[in-house]
């Protein structure tokens, strides 16, 4: 456990130190920083695991609220002698490419986002659509009436991939189902990720119309969807981390039957591990095959039968029998 809430910089190397003793790792969070119980925290978990298991030392920074100084964070970390630096979130895109040119000896790793042509930038992507596909399958199996909904924070590429995969998963079970799709904000407007009240109202409308399962990919707004589900006595699925575990409220745990897991922690840990062993990190797409994405079963809301079917679909995707697209 941290001694003071994660704001400490460097830590003693871990006892069971691996071969990465004293490697300096930098981590620049997405807006919001540590403590979002989702994306950022997941990255933090990955680096803390690396600290424990590999004996690295790390330093973390968060951007200012308008996200205008992401490049500065990277420079600050590079100047601080960190050999490998993570930028969490696709918004690091161009900033990281620019800074990478300035520090050719530093390995940069971006979590999520467009591919980069820089030598020293590795982009870790997640097959969100594959994980969402499985949630879609689960949703279709959980529902009796076949009314299913999706609530997205906005219309950015990441959320679109969630929506697309989810709909394909639903269709794989029953292609007559039309998934209701609501986005809380337009375009890339991030306000939809902070609008729990809006999330609740939108989800309530869906449940009022008879929807039985809603998959939500809207950051902080997810909790509104869970509230609506609890009110309606219906199902909801979360995103990024295992929201059954993180939501903290037993009433909401009752309705979260699964979450689309995005193992940012794995990506961070493995990147460090690879860097230690090979001195270089390659861009990778984490998908179902390496458990980079997946689904959670906490709460045991899904029956054995459903889980068996999910595992079946999962295998088909890994085997390439089912092709999931990230676009609709």
């Amino acid at each position: 456990e941290d001694d003071d809430g994660g704001s400490e910089d460097t830590t003693e190397s871990g006892e069971d130190g691996g071969s990465g003793d004293g490697l300096q790792v930098g981590l620049a969070f997405d807006v919001g920083g540590r403590g979002d119980r989702s994306f950022n925290d997941s990255a933090a978990a990955g680096i803390e695991r690396a600290q424990d298991e590999l004996g690295i030392e790390f330093n973390e920074l968060s951007p200012n609220p308008d996200g205008s100084n992401r490049d500065e964070l990277l420079r600050e970390l590079a100047d601080g002698g960190h050999e490998i630096i993570f930028g969490i979130g696709y918004a690091f895109g161009e900033d990281m490419d620019t800074v990478a040119d300035e520090y050719p000896d530093v390995q940069f790793v971006r979590i999520d986002g467009a591919p980069s042509d820089k030598e020293n930038v590795a982009v870790m992507n997640f097959a969100d659509h594959q994980g969402s596909f499985l949630v879609g399958v689960a949703a279709a199996l959980m529902s009796e009436s076949g009314q299913i909904g999706f609530v997205g924070g906005n219309e950015g590429v990441v959320i679109n991939a969630f929506g697309a995969g989810f709909k394909q998963g639903v269709a794989a079970v029953d292609d007559s189902i039309e998934v209701e799709d609501h986005r809380l904000a337009a375009g890339e407007d991030p306000s939809g990720f902070d609008d729990a009240a809006g999330g609740r109202v939108a989800a309530e409308a869906m449940y009022d119309r008879g929807v039985e399962v809603v998959f939500t990919a809207a950051g902080d707004s997810n909790v509104g969807v869970f509230q609506a589900a609890a009110d309606a006595g219906a199902w909801a699925a979360g995103t990024d981390s295992d929201q059954y575990e993180t939501v903290g409220d037993p009433e909401l745990q009752e309705v979260i039957f699964t979450s689309m897991l995005k193992r940012v922690d794995n990506a961070v840990f493995e990147s460090i591990d690879t860097y230690i062993s090979e001195g270089d990190v390659e861009s990778t797409v984490y998908d179902l095959s390496d458990d980079g994405v997946g689904y959670s079963t906490s709460g045991d809301h899904m029956s054995e039968d459903i889980i068996a079917q999910l595992e079946d679909y999962k295998q088909q995707i890994i085997d390439g029998e089912i092709e999931v697209s990230s676009e609709e």
Binding site: G33, G35, S191, D194, A197, G199, V201, D220
Partner: protein, 408 residues
């Protein structure tokens, strides 16, 4: 214009608007326009705004402009999260009120005691509040207490809701009315049912604050002194009214009310989250000006905003938002015809052209991009303001620095 005729006029406008709305509902078949769910959502989305607007009202009636409502609301949400975590929903109420009131106290100190420009102080409070809540969370939830963190409180659970018996549950009379599918009648049923179901004690408290504020401000001795500080503080002081005290009281109350707005959000979503206010404090300020510094007016302004927000959030497709376009077109046409009758030709022509464009848009478009639908509440508010020509009457000494003994 006497008072009676103003109330009557407002009622008439509401009635006409409602008939137009149910006509549009019938034409387009978009039940979401008047469904009970929409009405309920309207109430829920409008209340936080209305609380901020009311906060703005009580401050400005005492002559202090409060652009810091957003910051006070932020403090309210944090206070609600903290209080709720420790002591449940009532603790949340207490926390929200204290949080907001502290913001108000700072504003009062700056504007009343130190005579700082009201807008400067409000803007500064917005800045400080946004940063402060992060600090507080770091200090209080650092250990990740039961799901809390630097950006959120532990879950405190949403407030329990209930339906009004007989009307909206059990025999559900209003529900039956809503299902009759008779124009106007079913719409009335839907709206009333929405307003009488899914209520919480806290929503009722917030609702009650609107008439209560009216009563205190316009029917009590305290209220008279309160308003006198905003109309003519020098006169008030000369009659022995302690203007500073009135202003302090007003601004602190204002903060507490903004905090109540924050409470509404926290109780609706079950926990405090950083950034959850999303600019509602500013919308509240706008709603208050929309309402011409009156409780009924600000309730209408908040309601209008909440309604259009509810429609776009609840709509299954953008057709419902298009139906609102038809409604706006009809209203514009009506006002245009009225202006034609009043021989204001240019204005009437502009309005009729806009009305034509709106109706044409409704008839030809079959889809609106999300960029447009998310603008709905803002566009509707602007459209209504532009049609209803406003004669605003802020308190005479609103925003003025008042120093005891200086008489300019």
């Amino acid at each position: 214009m006497t008072r009676v005729s103003r109330t009557q006029r407002i009622l008439l406008i509401i009635a006409l608007g409602f008939i137009a709305l149910s006509t549009v509902r019938a034409i387009t078949g978009e039940d979401v326009l008047t469904s009970s769910g929409t009405a309920r959502a309207m109430l829920i989305l409008a209340l936080p705004i209305a609380m901020c607007a009311l906060g703005g009202l009580v401050a400005e009636r005492a002559g202090v402009i409060n652009i810091g409502l957003e910051g006070m609301m932020i403090l309210g949400t944090w206070g609600a999260g903290f209080g709720g975590w420790h002591y449940g929903p009532w603790g949340a109420l207490l926390g929200a009120v204290i949080g907001g009131a502290l913001g108000g106290l700072v504003h009062a100190l700056a504007t009343v005691t130190f005579g700082v420009d009201h807008i400067v102080s409000g803007v500064a409070i917005n800045l400080v509040a946004a940063g402060l809540v992060r600090f507080l969370s770091e200090a209080v939830y650092a250990e990740g207490e039961q799901g809390g963190g630097p950006t959120q409180s532990p879950p405190i659970g949403a407030a329990r809701s209930f339906d009004v018996p007989i009307l909206s549950s059990g025999p559900d009379l209003l529900g039956r009315l809503e299902r009759t599918d008779v124009i106007v009648l079913s719409d009335i049923g839907g709206v009333l049912r929405g307003l009488t179901s899914g209520l919480t004690v806290f929503a009722l408290i917030a609702l009650a604050l609107l008439p209560l504020a009216w009563f205190v401000l316009w029917r009590t001795a305290l209220g008279l002194r309160w308003r006198s500080a905003g109309e003519n503080p020098v006169a008030a002081e000369s009659l022995g009214v302690n203007v500073y005290r009135m202003k302090y009281l007003a601004v602190i109350t204002s903060g507490a009310l903004a905090g109540m707005g924050g409470l509404m959000l926290v109780l609706f979503t079950g926990s405090y989250r950083e950034g959850m206010t999303g600019g509602r404090g500013f919308i509240g300020l706008a709603a208050m000006i929309f309402g011409n510094w009156r409780p009924t007016g600000l309730a209408m302004g908040s309601g209008l905003f909440g309604y259009s927000d509810a429609v776009r959030l609840r709509a299954q497709t953008s057709a419902a938002v298009l139906a609102l376009l038809l409604l706006v077109g009809l209203i514009l046409a009506a006002v245009g015809v009225w202006d034609l009758y009043r021989r204001r030709f240019v204005l009437s022509a502009v309005l009729l052209v806009l009305a034509g464009a709106a109706v044409l848009g409704w008839a030809t478009l079959d889809y609106l991009p999300n960029e447009i639908t998310t603008m709905t509440p803002y566009l509707v508010t602007l459209a209504v303001l532009a049609t209803a020509s406003q004669r605003l009457r802020p308190p005479a000494a609103d925003g003025m620095r008042y120093r005891r003994g200086e008489e300019h």
